[in-house]
């Protein structure tokens, strides 16, 4: 089981990084006056916190020790399109790590962990990454200023 626990700790690092990044980005949006972006991204931070909670609970149940310290590097993004792209990049890396972890659970016949991870992957794909991709598409279609005006 320790291999599964190590992998879950690897995923936890992604979730903790996401919480930090979304919290920082959402507050930055609020500071700039883009309240709609603030609401959406602070809601994403809450979702990621929910995912982290699931991972921590599962690691403890498997008698492992949750690693609350590890993080991935935060991006150096200082305008809205760069921040949205960085968030999308993060979701994609997180999804890749989740898929590898799901395969590992299957090998170890840990089907309950696998099921939990599929739930997280579904949120990542259908909610977070999809929404971010839509925003980047809208910026292309509307132009940045019009997009931002709609996000106030």
């Amino acid at each position: 089981m320790s291999q599964v626990v190590n992998t879950l700790n690897g995923l936890l690092a992604w979730e903790l990084t996401s919480i930090d990044q979304y919290t920082a980005h959402s507050e930055q949006y609020a500071d700039w006056g883009f309240n709609k972006l603030y609401e959406r991204i602070s809601h994403e931070a809450d979702d990621e916190r929910g995912h982290a909670k699931l991972l921590i609970e599962r690691i403890l149940y498997l008698e492992g020790k949750p690693d609350m310290e590890s993080r991935h590097a935060l991006p150096n993004a200082d305008n809205v399109p760069e921040m949205l792209s960085a968030d999308l990049d993060l979701e994609r890396k997180n999804a890749t790590a989740l898929k590898a972890a799901i395969e590992l659970c299957e090998q170890h016949k840990d089907f309950v962990t696998r099921d939990m991870l599929v739930g997280i992957l579904k949120d990542t794909e259908e909610d977070h990454a999809y929404w971010l991709r839509q925003q980047l598409g809208l910026i292309n279609r509307l132009g940045l200023e019009r997009y931002l005006q709609a996000m106030m």
Binding site: Q134, Q135, G137, L138, R141, L142, G143, R146, Y147, Q149, A150
Partner: protein, 154 residues
């Protein structure tokens, strides 16, 4: 009640047009949604459902007239690649639909099928309303520019 074969043929032709419009509007609505234009999605999705209700009325009328509703045929879909083009193509399809319904109404009148005529006239009224909406959208795009228009459709 045995219906007049000319009327039945006219009703089936309108049914084919309805089935075509349902599909075009439905796909366009979901394309708008995929790009994040939620308002266009709502409006066009509802128009697709309205077309389905029209198809339902025509099917029931054909059956009442002892005819066979033809659900096999589907006309050509005009599918656009971006929101402005899609609205124009919906307008084009709807305009053609209106012309066909007018012709079918004339057939019903000459064959003295006044109840089918009344049903088609009610459908025509809704079609004109929707076409009016499409015209307005195309005109807004010309007046305020596509980007400003789309900004209002999030």
């Amino acid at each position: 009640m045995r219906g007049n074969s000319t009327v039945l043929a006219a009703l089936n032709k309108i049914l084919t047009r309805k089935l075509t419009t349902i599909n075009q509007f439905f796909l366009h609505a979901r394309m708008h949604k995929n790009w994040g234009f939620e308002q266009l999605n709502n409006k066009v999705y509802k128009a697709s459902i309205d077309e389905m209700k029209h198809a339902d009325k025509i099917i029931e009328r054909i059956l009442l007239l002892d005819g066979l509703p033809n659900l096999q045929e589907l006309g050509k879909l005009y599918i656009g690649e971006e929101p402005g083009e899609m609205l124009k193509l919906d307008d084009k399809l709807q305009t053609e639909d209106i012309n066909h319904i007018r012709q079918a109404i004339a057939v019903c009148e000459s064959e003295h099928d006044f109840v089918s005529r009344k049903m088609l006239a009610e459908i025509l009224e809704q079609q004109e309303e929707h076409q009016d909406w499409l015209d307005t959208q195309c005109s807004l795009i010309d007046t305020i520019g596509l980007e400003n228009y789309l900004q209002q459709q999030l």
